[in-house]
């Protein structure tokens, strides 16, 4: 049955639509500002330059992981292995450094590991045909095992070069080096997603796979590429994380899965509702970072933080699912 013709549109209706769109686009942003204001007023030491820089430092790795996940989400692929991939790089790079490998080579080694993980995920999804949710869950379990096998469950300490530690702990003009990395990664990711043919195709594959295929887009290639990019961002975050911690910890990356997904989901509620965008993810990371930081300063238990975060994720996903046609599987 073809349904043709336009529904009569009067001014009321158009304004109604605009208002609804506006609420959809900006309600999360308004919530973010409100939370910021509430913390500023009620929490001591929240609104200080030192603490704000601190928040920036705290969210930088999360934002980088989130940016990677955004590529996956844009192509409608989920990566549940990111947390362990962060951990993998966080072990591998310090390990190479303690063996005396020069810093640039060690960093390349970390990127190489990301490439391998991404390629395995991508091959499972696009060549074997395993849904990404399951494939990356299994791959994550494998990486988890490797992380603990390699380290024997112990942290990798030792003579890490000062230049490496500077990446995670240093400051330039008082601004954490990590923040530069964060903004650098966000800028690059934004540019790729919004201003290149590659990004356009990643979005096309996720937006309407059938239409993309019939427009001659190599659907498999872009699904695979999105997953590889996701792993690459995760290893960048892992490399920086170990530098910040000053050691390689096998369990250090584990929080980044849930928090990373949260940033993307929160981001999907704004700007282009239902679509994962880099700027949305950045705002999502800010959201998570401010809440974590504020609750911390209030002296809240980390378990309570976990509950709060769970609720935030549920609310964000509920908003996205109800207002748009969110489909992840």
């Amino acid at each position: 049955m073809t349904v043709s013709g336009t529904v009569q549109q009067n001014d009321d209706r158009i304004f109604g639509v605009i208002r609804k769109e506006w609420i959809q686009k900006y309600s999360t942003l308004v919530a973010l500002v409100l939370i910021f204001l509430v913390f500023s007023i009620t929490v001591n030491r929240f609104l200080t330059p030192l603490n704000l820089l601190n928040i920036m430092q705290q969210i930088s790795m999360l934002t980088i992981v989130g940016a990677g996940l955004t590529f996956g989400f844009a192509a409608r692929e989920m990566d549940l292995s990111v947390g362990y991939t962060v951990g993998l790089a966080g072990i591998l790079v310090p390990l190479l450094l303690t063996w005396g490998v020069p810093l640039p080579i060690a960093v390349l080694g970390g990127l190489g590991a990301g490439l391998v993980v991404g390629a395995v995920n991508a091959a499972l999804v696009t060549l074997v045909g395993v849904p990404s949710l399951i494939a990356t869950l299994a791959v994550g379990s494998i990486i988890f095992g490797i992380n603990y096998l390699v380290t024997g469950g112990r942290a990798i300490y030792g003579s890490l070069p000062a230049e490496y530690l500077w990446l995670g702990q240093g400051r330039v003009f008082g601004i954490p080096v990590l923040a530069f990395f964060m903004f650098g990664c966000v800028a690059v990711a934004w540019f790729i997603m919004e201003r290149t043919i590659f990004g356009r195709y990643v979005y096309a594959v996720g937006g309407n796979q059938k239409a993309a295929e019939l427009s001659g887009v190599n659907v498999r290639l872009y699904r695979a590429a999105a997953m590889v990019v996701c792993s690459l961002f995760a290893v960048i975050a892992g490399t920086l994380l170990a530098a910040r911690l000053g050691s390689g910890q096998p369990n250090a990356g584990e929080n980044y899965l849930l928090d990373g997904l949260a940033t993307v989901f929160i981001g999907m509620t704004m700007l282009r509702p239902g679509t994962a965008t880099i700027l949305g993810t950045l705002l999502g990371a800010l959201f998570i970072g401010i809440i974590n930081n504020g609750l911390n300063l209030m002296g809240m238990d980390t378990y309570i933080q976990s509950i709060v975060k769970g609720i935030i994720i549920l609310v964000a996903v509920a908003i996205v699912s109800r207002t748009t046609k969110l489909k992840l599987l």
């Binding site: 049955m1 349904v3 290149t196 239409a211 019939l214 282009r272």
Partner: protein
Amino acid sequence: MKISLTDIVMQYPGTRALDAVSANFRTDEVHGLIGENGAGKSTLMSVLSGSQRPTSGQISLNGRELALRSPRDAMLNGIALVSQEGSLVSSLSGAENIMLGEEPRHAGSVIRRNHLNQQAAKLLETWFPGIGIDLGAQVGSLPMADQKVIEIVRALRGDVRLLILDEPTATLPSREKERLWSIIRSLPQRGVGVVLISHFLSEIFALSNRITVLRDGRHVGTLNASDVSEDHLVDLMLRRTGGQTSDEQVTTRDALGTEVLAVTNWRVGRIAIPAFTLRAGEIVGLIGLTGSGHFGFARSLHNPAGVLSGTIAINGKPASLGGPRDMQRSGIALVPDHRMENALIGEWDLRENLSMVHPEHGSRGLGILSMTKENAETARIFKLLNVKAHSPRQLLSSLSGGNKQKISIGKWLYGARDRYRVMVFIEPTEGVDIGAKKEIYAEMRRLAATGMGIIIASSDLLEIEQVTDRVIPFVAGKPGAEITRNDFSEAAFIAAMSGGSQ
């Protein structure tokens, strides 16, 4: 017993799916219901089976008015529907499917398996003695015909007097059809009337006592199967009511260009085309009843994934069969039907949608998009196809059907208008208003004039008559004798589509 539908109207926003349709069905007959896609068959049956309430009109049983608010209401009044897609749980056994939702239970909630199997077997034996279906096996592992029988038995579980079968044999291999046919024939003798929806006219003839024809949401006739010919039925299904005539004629070009497309021994599924050629500047129409293969053939030229055998040459050069990407590189473009599923992204803006096939034309190189170039290119397409939009950043979903279709066409003209040698259109004006239709036809002619070959597979015969130079009718997967412009007439099309040659 008689069930009557009187003046059923179903109004959707912008379209009237059923326009005062009346029909009556009896329990001692198989009643064929036919019409092309969109004629209103499914809507009418969803009204009769309680899943949709009509805007107005009455349903009555032996003169008593019925209010069917849900499929359950219909069921309680003895009306059941077996849908086309099937509704079996493939991991359960036949017996479990038959008794689904009415499993015999112990006092608690434990299912009495023996009873269940016995009851299912008894039901099957009562309705279809000696049919020999293994009710213990998982339904998914049974032949398609057996699955249909199980669905029918489940529908007959209650006190059903009228069974609606929507395309019951569409998914069946031909050897299994006969079996189901004899089952369908036997039902009226048991006091169960059948309403049979089918695209296969031969099936309608083989089974029906009476036949009702719908067209464009209207009832155009109910006839006794014994005194109507197949040609006459097709005529009823397709002939448009007076008033519309083809007002624009194509100027026939006597000098056609070189051959841009040559297909030989092409086989896709049941479709077989010994030879097909298309010349530069030519517009060829493919017509046929639903399921006759004209759409499948058109689609396979751009996406030959399902092609079993055949060769294709584009512009004289043999092309290897690959995916859509490869065919595009060889010079074939496709403007598909169901544009929101197959061509466009509703949440994207117009600029992004237009760039989907050739984003490189909005780029200064290195794969980097230039918003200035993209906007300029988008504006050019807007102007070329007269797209009514206020901004390149407007969301696609906000456009009307006609403008969406222009975007779907514009994708292929982005950057360069003459990149392709062959453009295939499937249902090019489905859901498109009259004004936009004319503009789309004009663009097709202009494209042909640039030396492109154009194929239009359409069920809109008026469109075919207005735009094409010659027409190839498809019957049962095979192309029939071609009809040239001088012989164009609706009667000729209809006769060719029904396979009649008189």
